[in-house]
């Protein structure tokens, strides 16, 4: 039953510095992503779903600060590691597909170039091997530096959060803490730098020798072929020439990814995502593709690096139903074939029902309910989940839609208590005063609502949701 946890997000808190103050976009989000599962994050715009996923990718906006929490991937905390370290993860191990395929592709660059770009840039094999040799000391240094920067930033942030009267009392302690930390880190940086200095010449020598050996080996083979070539028949000569060409190409590939290799790989992934005539399509520009095809290309680009986690940020919102269904099928197929884990962000509950193994419902920067897809759709517990489900017309709705009154809260001033209380007809007094903790419904199902407290009055989910479930079951009976 226990599956491998690929990615673990704990208490993630992200805020944006703006001229009006801090916008608290994500306020303590925790979830685990296990191997090969699809976790859907649902919520309206501004609920923090995109911000969380961008924090995982390390592409948050410039004014974003990760105040608290951790994102653990392969024993590394993605909120703490350095940019250099992140290069090896972003795109390579965690891929991302964006919402609007028109604006995520470069309009004046041919598709082929856009797909191969990443492969070529990351394709210096010798350099990679060299970097790998000095990886440990290099990362130690970079991480220590990043940690120092982070500590200073956090200090500045905490300082800005202090009220004037608190400053006298609390500032000296904060400052002392910071100084102590910096001192520690400085020695760490010094040590790391020395270690790196020692490693570099060693690694360089190893790589040089490797390259020399390889070159010599190929030269020997080439000359052997050439020897055979003299005096051979014209057909054989042509064959030998090809052989030499392959040898030389292989040598080039030993050094770095060649254009031809990248092109072959591009054609391979394009075929995989179902683009017909990939050879011809490589030479075309994005505007020559339809919306669905463009989204396939965006997916192809994400796949070139073989990621094992794929974040899909509303990949089908800009597409219409038939194309949406195709793209969803494609993502599902790729997920099964490659065994990747998917974080799927959307606001369309129909899409969620189609894609998700587990669902996290977000509101005002928090996960208000999380559970398996069946639990969320058939046994929802949080009033916001109810409201979302009830406000969506399906093919059978006839009565007036139950809309959610009001608008989401302004995250400059996050509400006290349950953020949804203002718009919820089930809100109790405590909802406005105290934040609800997570109540456990089953091993996989949690919801943050005071309604689940043993002292709370019994409230059933709106009848319209149960009606819909019953209708679908009835339909199934009929079709059976």
């Amino acid at each position: 039953m226990e599956k491998n946890i690929k990615l673990s997000v704990k208490d993630l808190t992200v805020s944006f510095r703006t001229t009006q103050g801090l916008v608290r976009a994500v306020r303590g989000v925790s979830f685990d992503l296990t191997e090969g599962e699809t976790l859907a994050i649902v919520g309206e715009s501004g609920s923090g779903k995109s911000v969380s996923s961008r924090a995982i990718m390390g592409i948050s906006a410039g004014n974003a600060i990760v105040e608290d929490g951790s994102i653990i991937y392969e024993d590394q905390d993605l909120t703490k590691i350095s940019e250099e370290n992140f290069h090896e993860i972003r795109g390579d191990k965690i891929g991302m597909i964006f919402q609007d395929p028109m604006s995520s592709l470069n309009p004046i660059m041919k598709i082929g170039k856009q797909i191969t770009e990443g492969i070529l840039i990351n394709g210096h094999r010798l350099k990679d091997r060299y970097v790998k040799l000095i990886h440990q000391p290099r990362m130690d240094l970079a991480n220590a530096k990043a940690e120092k920067k982070e500590a200073i930033n956090l200090f500045k942030f905490r300082k800005s959060q202090l009220a004037d009267d608190e400053k006298v009392e609390k500032l000296p302690k904060l400052k002392a803490d910071l100084d102590k930390k910096i001192e520690e880190l400085n020695t760490k940086i010094k040590e790391a730098r020395a270690a790196l200095k020692e490693e570099i010449p060693k690694a360089k020598a190893i790589i040089k020798k490797e390259w020399k050996d390889e070159k010599a080996r190929v030269a020997k083979e080439v000359s052997a072929v050439k020897e055979k070539m003299s005096g051979a028949s014209p057909e054989m000569q042509a064959k030998y020439k090809d052989e030499i060409e392959t040898l030389k190409e292989n040598l080039r590939r030993y050094k770095k990814v060649t254009r031809k290799e990248a092109r072959d790989r591009a054609i391979e992934v394009m075929t995989e995502v179902g683009i017909p005539e990939p050879k011809k399509r490589l030479k075309q520009y994005p505007f020559q593709f339809s919306g669905g095809m463009r989204q396939r290309i965006v997916i192809a680009i994400a796949l070139t690096a073989n990621p094992d986690v794929l974040i899909c940020d509303e990949p089908t919102t800009a597409l219409d139903v038939t194309i949406q269904a195709q793209i969803l099928e494609l993502i599902k197929r790729l997920k099964e074939e490659r065994g990747i884990s998917v974080i799927f962000i959307t606001h369309d509950l129909g899409v969620v029902a189609n894609m998700a193994d587990r669902v996290a419902v977000m509101y005002a920067g928090k996960i208000v309910e999380i559970g398996t897809s069946e639990e969320i759709f058939y046994n929802p517990k949080h009033p916001y989940t109810w409201a979302l489900l009830a406000s969506m017309p399906d093919l059978n709705s006839k009565d007036r839609l139950s809309s959610i009154p009001g608008t989401p809260p302004n995250m400059l001033f996050p509400p006290k208590g349950d953020a949804f209380a203002d718009r919820s007809k089930y809100a109790m007094r405590i909802d406005f005063e105290k934040e609800p903790p997570y109540f456990k419904i089953s091993d996989t199902h949690y919801a943050a609502s005071w309604l689940l407290h043993p002292d709370a009055p019994e409230v059933e989910k709106p009848p319209i949701i149960q009606q819909r479930i019953d209708e679908f079951r009835k339909e199934e009976e009929v079709t059976k």
Binding site: E44, L349, M392, P393, L401
Partner: protein
């Protein structure tokens, strides 16, 4: 809900509407047939929906109907008056007549026909051509000057509530713009009307002096609706009014449109691609595919007996909020090359009363067989 009150007098009649966009010259000349021969009627008090994938011409149809484009061919009648008509087809007809008579004359001369015969043919031609030219002139005249009094009965709600509101105008100016164009000058009248409209769409008077950027998406769409309602139209074209909105806000706007329909008896042409919403909201549904209307029926009929393979594929692709249902759903794939229209061209046929389908004779037989099953 929204029964057809008066079946005999359509509010809007569209006849063989064509909208072709031309670009490039010579070798690069390209004609995009965005709308290619669409006909339908919309009756008083109903919600008529146009659905189809992006690029199928549904928005172009709406924009041509409200005269944002000059149609290439075909006619639009609104409240009994022709408001818009294209004449490219008529021009083509003149060319055809000229060519045909030329050939006929040559033939006659060859066979040694009498002078009388020849002049008769020529007269016939001239008469036909002058008839058509008169029609073209009439169409030009009728559609050139804008009858504001008449046209203010047709209003539009746009898709993007951010782009469709002038950021430099306050809400009051935005809502009152239509009234000013319709020559309402009395400030008190305008103020009263603006306030009334704000209340109708669920905003408050204080909002009148604010700018669009101060509102949320749903509120902005309400402003757009208030602007359309200010001149008391009989007919509203709603071009994807909710697709740019959040789920929780979508329901608010649909409920609002529903209330307006019940309260003022407004006829609505609803353009959308979300079939769940379309089914909930409309009375009759027309499915478009690449410039053609492929199927038109009441919503009950269309969802119960979809006939055209494209309609079936569209219906099978709608995601519903039910995991078990979703995991067993079988999607039907539509392949337009399945139709063989080489010999027998397709037309819009009425297969059962009120249910129209785009098919040729052979297909029609198949569909009929399918219906009786």
């Amino acid at each position: 809900m929204g029964a057809r009150e008066n079946k005999d007098t359509p509010v809007l009649s569209v006849r063989n509407l064509k909208q072709h966009f031309k670009s490039g010259f010579g070798k690069n000349k390209l004609v995009v047939k965005a709308v290619d021969g669409v006909s339908f009627d919309i009756y008083k008090g109903e919600v008529f929906s146009l659905v189809g994938e992006s690029g199928c011409g549904k928005t172009t149809t709406g924009r041509t109907v409200i005269k944002l484009y000059q149609p290439t061919d075909g006619e639009v009648y609104f409240l009994g008056k022709r408001i818009s008509a294209g004449y490219e087809g008529l021009k083509q007809e003149i060319k055809d007549i000229k060519r045909d008579t030329k050939a006929k004359l040559a033939e006659l001369k060859e066979s040694g026909a009498s002078e009388e015969e020849i002049s008769r043919v020529q007269d016939e031609k001239n008469e036909r051509i002058s008839e058509i030219k008169a029609e073209i002139k009439l169409r030009k005249e009728q559609t050139a000057d804008e009858d504001i009094e008449h046209m203010k009965n047709m209003q539009m709600i746009f898709q993007d509530p951010i782009a469709s509101l002038n950021p430099r105008m306050v809400v009051k100016e935005i809502i009152a713009e239509g009234l000013r164009i319709a020559n309402v000058k009395d400030k008190d009248v305008i103020n009263d009307r603006v306030n009334e409209m704000l209340e109708t769409v669920g905003l408050v008077r204080e909002h009148a002096s604010r700018y669009p950027h101060e509102f949320s998406g749903g509120q902005r769409q309400r402003i757009g609706i208030a602007r359309a309602l200010a001149v008391s139209p009989e007919f509203i074209i709603a071009d994807e009014p909710i697709s740019a909105l959040d789920v929780s806000i979508q329901a608010q706007v649909i409920n609002l449109l529903n209330d307006l329909r019940d309260e003022f008896g407004i006829t609505i042409m609803f353009i959308a691609h979300d079939l769940s919403v379309v089914k909930y909201f409309s009375d009759r549904i027309a499915v478009m595919y690449y410039g053609k209307l492929v199927e038109l029926a009441s919503k009950e009929e269309l969802f119960k007996n979809p006939l055209h393979p494209y309609t079936k594929s569209l219906l099978s692709a709608v995601p519903v909020p039910d995991p078990i249902h979703e995991k067993t759903r079988q999607r039907i794939v539509y392949d337009p090359s399945m139709h063989n229209y080489e010999v027998n061209g397709p037309e819009l046929h009425e297969i059962t009363p009120g249910h129209y389908i785009y098919a040729n004779e052979a297909e029609l037989k198949e569909y009929k067989k399918e219906m009786t099953k």
